[in-house]
Amino acid sequence: MNAVLVAVIAWNTFREAVRDRVLYNLVFFALLMISAAILVGQISIGIERLIIVNLGLSAISVFGAVMAVFLGVGLVHKEIERRTLYTMLSKPVRRTEFIAGKYFGLAITLAVNTLLMTVGLVTALLYVDGTLRREDAAVMTGVFFIFLQLLLLTGIALAFSCFATPVVSTLGTLGLYLAGIFSDDIRTFGSLSENPAMQRLTTFLYYVLPNFGQFNVISAVGHGQSVPGALIAGNTAYTLLYVTVTLIAAAAIFSNRNMK
């Protein structure tokens, strides 16, 4: 794997997103945070800061997820469809390198987007609260966990993108996302059933499906609860491992695919 090639492709993918005005979603985020910051001050129900944190983190997560899924499912498919891949693959670029480049390109895009939204959230917090507090560090951990989820989501979308149409990929990615959010409930459901085969199946699913539930700390950090370092390390490791799985799968599928 040639890291320079991967970086060149990633940079171009980022450039494409920027030129396609993907970052315009930040305008909506900014408007949302501004109106929320002004409104909560007037409603005065004792939870101004909490609302800003919940709303801000939820919006960062939703905006990011929409971006990860909708850009992710087109990453490879669009290049096949528009035949821009013909020239790409006639260069000394391995298909694995191409996949890695596309992945990191979207990852950079998401990182920039998340970072700018975080600046907006912190500004809104400052406005509502007057100062930053120690608990706000936990909010940053919340942002980091959201970013990890986006990295995971991008990997899944990219893997789908290598063999399915965007519609199928979107459904598949969102399906896995929801299943991953509810994986706790899937296991609980299994343990309620008396059937041991069912229990084994739901436990298996719980561990195999991407466990998005373990990343959700929005409510907790809103209440100023700090996130244990072990969970930060654990979730980071989890993301690295799972993303590697999706990339290896994507590369294997893509390397064996005929370009139509």
């Binding site: 129900i45 298909r95 969970l231 294997a252 390397s255």
Partner: protein, 233 residues
Amino acid sequence: MTERTNAKTRAIIAIPLLMLGVWMVARFNEPYAAKMQPGPDVLNLSSARVIKALSIGYNGLMADIYWTRAVQYYGDKRHAVQLTGNQAVEHYPLLDPLLEITVTLDPQLVVAYKFGAYFLTEPSPVGAARPDLAARLLRQGITNNPNEWRLWADLGMIYYQHGDYAHAAEAYRMGSEHPHADEWMKVMAAKIAQEGGTNQISVFLWSQIFQSTKDPLIRNNALQHLRELGAVR
């Protein structure tokens, strides 16, 4: 070996190994992640459970929205009562369901228990005149937030206002056992147990409530009570 077979072989060998790692890390994360999730589910309402499911991880935000709705509902009704002077009809029928949904979505939203109980317990037209529901809500809050000793004080106040001094004293005593609880909790527990309701105790409790919040609604109400008791003019 071509890139094709290479990629395939790599996938076949590496993916199971990596998934093993995924499994191990997920097991490792489990206890920590569990601690970050909203406390034990005390689900009394099926609609609350459904809303929680539908909020797909954004329950914090949904809780804020429901709390805002509960406050607006209360505020609107109360405003209407003041305008029309029609005091008899208002019992705030939706208040309890809205609060229930709120605390199901975010069991750590302490304001919802505290103010919610206040809205529920006050006699009509100020509140829903349902101290039973208020007490239930507060007990739920105490279960979900064992560190919040002030919720015990709020519970005690509800019993105290309705002349249930035994329960009130018990609530203050329970709260006072909390390591961070203020000293007066213990005093109140003892005094209410001995003397029941007295003007002096009432004045003290209302001024505690007055000091415990910045919310103008609650402060005004506490002030009103203090006025009636002759403690302020």
